[in-house]
Amino acid sequence: MRPLSVIVRTVCNAFAWFVAVFGVYVIVHGHLSPGGGFQGGAVVATFMALLLVSHGATKCLGWVRTNFFYAFEHVGLLTFIAAGFLGIGVTFFYNSLALSGGLFGSAVPLGPNGGSLNTSGTIALMNCAVGIEVVGGLSMILLYMMQGVFHVDKPTLRGKEEAGHDR
């Protein structure tokens, strides 16, 4: 797959970062606003999709390491399970950090209020964990599919430029 034109590449280069920052915002504010780990992770994975579509699979696959996203996914899932085990003294998935006064432990006033990031206990922790996992998982799906569909042989393409572009 050849890269798209220079206009598309420039726009995707610029907007991929804004998309990534917005996705991180959605993940981090998952316990205050609509969204959360799954949705924000999908938004952040759009970063990889934009780069893959605009620059072409052959060039883009030489830039990234799959092991990076592999580690993301495993760290996310293990952190999620560990956050579930934090409250094992009562039950599995008991929210032991909430209202404890420490990390994410502030109490919220009852009724409508502005909200604070330092609330909700393990919910915020699990949001971040699931976000990391979804980022790694969806990016890995994209990379593997691009590599498999276009029969890209990865070790041979480092630093090679492609001739011409589509559209």
Binding site: G30, H31, L32, S33, P34, G36, F38, T66, E73, G76, L77, F80, I81, G84, F92, F93, N95, A98, L99, G105, S106, A107, V108, L110, G111, N113, G115, T119, S120, G121, T122, I123, M126, N127, V130, E133, V134, G137, M140, I141, Y144, M145, Q147, G148, V149, H151, V152, D153, K154, P155, T156
Partner: protein, 90 residues
């Protein structure tokens, strides 16, 4: 001909069932007696210290369900990797 009669009878029976079900649904905006919703809405802020009740259900009250969702994503990634991993790039 016999099949046509059978289909007409089947459509009438299924349509009647659908009509009855649609007629028995509560009116829009009046969900009736739902004690569970009221419990979540009134206790989420006090018990879990969280403003977003939806998140408190997804990640706390039904955290085990979300663990299953994360496992589903993990399985999907594993199967895609197994399917698309060609002879290069091991």
């Amino acid at each position: 001909m016999k099949f046509r009669v059978f289909f007409v009878i089947a459509i009438l029976v299924v349509g009647g069932l659908f009509w009855g079900a649609a007629d028995a649904v509560h009116p829009f905006g009046n969900p009736g007696d739902v004690p569970m919703d009221g419990y979540f809405l009134s206790h989420a802020q006090r018990e879990r210290g969280v403003n977003n009740v939806v998140t408190s259900i997804v990640f706390d009250y039904r955290g085990f369900d979300t663990l299953g969702e994360a496992a589903v994503l993990f399985t999907a990634v594993s199967s895609v990797a197994a399917l698309f991993r060609g002879k290069g790039w091991r």
